[in-house]
Amino acid sequence: MYLTVGLAQLYPKIGDVAANLKTHLAQIEAAKAHGVQLLMFPELSLTGYNLQDLVYEVAMQPTADNPIFRQLLEASGDYGMDLMVGFVDTDRRARYFIGAAYLSDGKVLHVHHKVYLPTYTMFDEGRYFAWGDAVRAFDTRFGRFGMLICEDFWHASPPYLLWIDRADLFLFHSASPGRGLDASDRLGSARWVQLVNQAYGSLFTSYILHCNRVGYEDGLNFWGGSTIIDPDGEIVCAAPMHEPALCIQTIDLNQTRRTRTRLPLLRDERTALMARELTRIIEEAPDRTLGAR
């Protein structure tokens, strides 16, 4: 089974949801011309990244009642194209989340709330957002998928949980600020993300689709370099660094079966042992806060 995916590596305008919606619809239009079945947008693609006090202005709910989502949902139905978009979710109780929504055939199939909110060095997400409290895989017409947002996959546990929750394809998106200029032709942050994504592809014998944004916000640069990693951990395609691009690639989903036949890491995974030992470790942990989170 083949799947034609698009990675819309775009530059969202900070705080301007209407302008960003237009950009999304233009990307959808362009992707349709190439038969894209699944189009991914970056983290907070509808709002921009470092929103600070704009968080409260751009928040929305991912339903057909919302004029922004209505147009995206219509597009997903009209074009037969599944979409993963980034937005600020709110639960009407004045809690705000960094959200990723998966839209298919006019419906919201799944929403993931970012669990890990980086609040260190240049990051201040924990100041504005509530953390998501679930990591769940979900069924799509192409198979069972899992979505994670940026810092979520800087931690090893969320991808692992999705794998055990039967996700066979991982959709990662991010708004990753570039840092770590040295003699290399890529920034340290770009090298790190590609390294871990190749590791996830290898360890979970699954496709890893990563869509990262580009552009600048107050001197931060976003490095792009979106990639598709195959179940052997190899790079199938890589979008350019630091430039907007719509990267389209058809992937062979049967490769997952072939790789897992050669390398049955999933078959041999001891989930009960894992759960038992993890429970024991948390119960025995001298640092009790580790167990409470």
Partner: protein, 287 residues
């Protein structure tokens, strides 16, 4: 027989860590300038061209980002400025084909300097730096271009700059590059050789050099600053890398004492939502 392979414990090779990929740096900074200027509705820029390496590098980057015809180079000599500064700045103007202007600041600053016969060199230097800022911002209004700053990481960390003088700008493309890295990038971009070769100087009096005034070389202090700032080394850990402990302490104290130049003035908080405390929007909010 045991084939042992014991690696000697080595000092961190800071010179290697300070080396940058000049193509990547250029790409990011050129993109940054383009973005920062155009997103607020401008297409042009103004740069004070001193004849030194920092402003030469910024001129090269800005010309690449905006097109040379959109970058106004302003030379701002004082009566004691060296002739070499003017000719070196001219070399940049000629090489890039920049529109240029020379505004002599002596008649503007001299009346103030003459009011206080005991004025020391630092005060005079600050007056000159602030007068240059005034001229650049006036040209900014006339030329309809943003003032691009030319500060580098070393001088900003050490506070070797004038508050509201050379530190005043709409954007700072090279402020995250140490002087050593500025030199590396300038070589790669083809900044004129005479500028690369000469000793960095504020050019306030004959024979003045930055390194003479600071008491150490940029190469030396950049290695140390890289460990303390980028590497998050403690003073003790930096000294253990072979730096003289007194030198490390002196530099770190200087970084701390000059922090006021790197921050906005403190605002006395009174209300529930205050500028500078919890009224938080990006500068790019305006764009």
């Amino acid at each position: 027989m045991v084939n042992t392979l014991v690696q000697p414990q080595q000092r961190v090779d800071v010179d290697t860590l300070l080396t940058i990929n000049t193509d990547l740096a250029t790409k990011i900074m050129v993109g940054f300038i383009q973005d920062a200027v155009t997103k607020v509705g401008f297409s042009r820029a103004v740069i004070g061209l001193s004849g030194g390496i920092d402003s030469a590098l910024v001129a090269f980057l800005a010309a690449q980002a905006l097109g040379a015809e959109n970058v106004l180079a302003v030379r701002l000599p004082y009566q004691t400025s060296s002739a070499g500064s003017l000719t070196d700045a001219q070399a940049v103007i000629d090489q890039l084909g920049l529109p240029a202007l020379t505004v002599e600041i002596t008649p503007m600053v001299q009346p103030l300097i003459d009011l206080f016969p005991d004025m020391d060199g630092v005060r005079k230097g600050n007056i000159m730096a602030r007068q240059r800022m005034i001229v650049l911002y006036d040209q900014s209004a006339d030329w309809k271009g943003l003032v691009i700053g030319t500060s580098n990481k070393t001088e900003v960390l050490l506070g070797y700059s004038t508050l509201f003088g050379d530190s005043a700008a709409a954007l700072q493309p090279i402020e995250d590059l140490y002087k050593t890295q500025v030199r590396q990038l300038s070589r790669a971009l083809g900044v004129p050789q005479s500028i690369l070769d000469k000793a960095p100087s504020a050019d306030l009096w004959t024979g003045q050099t930055d390194e003479g005034e600071l008491g150490y070389t940029y190469a030396e202090v950049d290695r140390l600053l890289y460990l303390l700032v980028d590497g998050r080394y403690t003073v003790e850990e930096a000294a253990a890398q072979g730096f003289d402990r007194a030198f490390v302490e002196r530099v770190w104290r200087r970084v701390r004492m000059n922090h006021f130049k790197r921050t906005m003035p403190n605002v006395a908080k009174l209300s529930r939502r205050s500028i500078g405390h919890d009224f938080l929007y990006l500068r790019d909010w305006a764009g």
